[in-house]
Symmetry: C2
Subunit: 250 residues, 2 copies
DNA sequence: CGCACACTTGAACCCCCTCAACCCAAGTGG
DNA sequence: CCACTTGGGTTGAGGGGGTTCAAGTGTGCG
């Protein structure tokens, strides 16, 4: 059962003609495949929804009725085993397109790890739009290929990297995207915000929370990173951390 | 550098008009998106190649110039770390479409684990065909989504399953596809041929060859499987093996 | 026969897990 | 204002699943 937000949380089905044009996430998402003139058609089938931290909006095994596009916040995508073991397959941030599935049911669950705003599209209507705008389909294929590459990198991490290397890899991928205005030595690129708890980092890296804690401590002791508080990490030596992430034996 | 087959091994650029129509892999591959009348156009840009066991035909990091479609045999797709650690991301069999990449370089390597025959398509020309036949692009998107689901299942396996569960999962996925004529209790569905050596199974499951050997022995001792020879496994108790693969604690 | 190669088996080790205690900050209520 | 609770994070001690290292066992092939 997909958790439903209370009716009051439905933000707006209104303003379909403008919502998309004003959307800050547009440039980072598949929606940019549709140009301004036709944006109304996209807006008319989109419903904006807000999800509180901990709220889930896709459940593995349920009928795959909708696509989602994250416009704000972070969600975790995960699979579970019957005895409760959890594996997070990825974190979805602004611009991430969700809901591609091979069958008629979702193959994963999605839950907000910090407040999330997302556009929901009926699968059926979105498919209609794809027929009308081939560029949208092309963009979706690109997106799927990109996710495939990420997933294969994740497979390498889980299958062959040590705890230290996994954490280094994770931190490198969590670096904020380089702002075009900032120089290469910018500090901003080395400040990492971690909206998710240790439990989720562990479930993403195939480790336990204790190992996350200890390994963070070890990286800190080696002066590769600093940990000012629980939700932030500063990269002190990006070069060595990158080598570690890449699996170079030290 | 992509290993080149000797010139003599190029099978035929001839018969483009008929090769695809007679291709046994057509029904299982993306090529079925193109109907008989237009099949010549597909054939005209396809080159059939044979690769011997151990020969590699895609190298991680090299420019992604081609797509491949496996029409016979089995190839392993893998990534490597600088110190030689290897992680196999999947085995490509008949009908598997290869070469989707996010960037202009391949994100993985491919090597034949048994003699492979494949169709090679220039990326550029194949893109042209996609413009002409939207059904081909749709089919490719479906294929990418399917691979994504497989990859996420692989992530779950590597992140959270025990060696026993990993091997059980692997064996269940290696079962031959159910032949439509055979009944449900058919023995054929329980006879597994493993063309790849233990080393490759280990590198796929994130384990070592010793653990593969020992765990196969344990499953055999528990009467879940039989191992008549090195390349074959017989599933004796599909139900319990499936439970084990699914992560039910015993 | 003898070599090569893949696989199996055994013993010791180690990285990470498990279990448990502890810390700390943020409520909550009297 | 402080006692109490709660939940996330850290730290410590001990154990175990899988690795490592090493030897042994086929098995095909010249």
């Amino acid at each position: 059962m997909v958790a439903q937000a209370p009716q009051t949380v439905i933000v707006r089905a209104l303003g379909g003609l403008e919502a998309c044009a004003r959307c800050g996430a547009r440039g980072q998402s598949v929606c940019s495949a549709i140009d301004d003139a036709d944006l109304g058609k996209l807006g008319s089938i989109a419903v904006t929804r807000d999800f509180a931290r901990g709220q889930s909006f896709v459940e593995e095994g349920e009928p795959a009725t909708d696509f989602f596009n994250i416009t704000q916040g972070t969600a975790k995508l995960y699979k579970m085993l019957p005895d409760g073991r959890q594996q997070i397959t990825g974190f979805a941030r602004t611009g991430h397109f969700l809901g591609l599935a091979a069958s008629n049911t979702y193959g994963f669950s999605a839950e907000a790890v910090e407040p999330v705003r997302a556009c929901r599209f009926s699968r059926q209507r979105f498919r209609g739009l794809m027929e009308e705008f081939p560029a949208l389909e092309r963009r979706l294929l690109d997106s799927a290929c990109h996710e495939l590459v990420i997933a294969q990198e994740h497979v390498l991490l889980l299958g062959r990297k040590t705890a230290r290397e996994r954490l280094a890899s994770f931190l490198m991928t969590q670096r904020p995207p380089a702002a075009p205005c900032s120089g290469p030595g910018s500090d901003a690129a080395n400040l990492i915000h971690l909206p998710m708890p240790r439990r989720d980092i562990a479930d993403y890296l195939g480790l336990t929370i204790e190992t996350i804690s200890r390994t963070l401590g070890a990286l800190k002791a080696d002066r590769l990173i600093a940990v000012p508080n629980q939700t932030e990490v500063v990269i002190l030596d990006a070069i060595r951390l990158q080598e570690l992430a890449g699996g170079e034996r030290e």
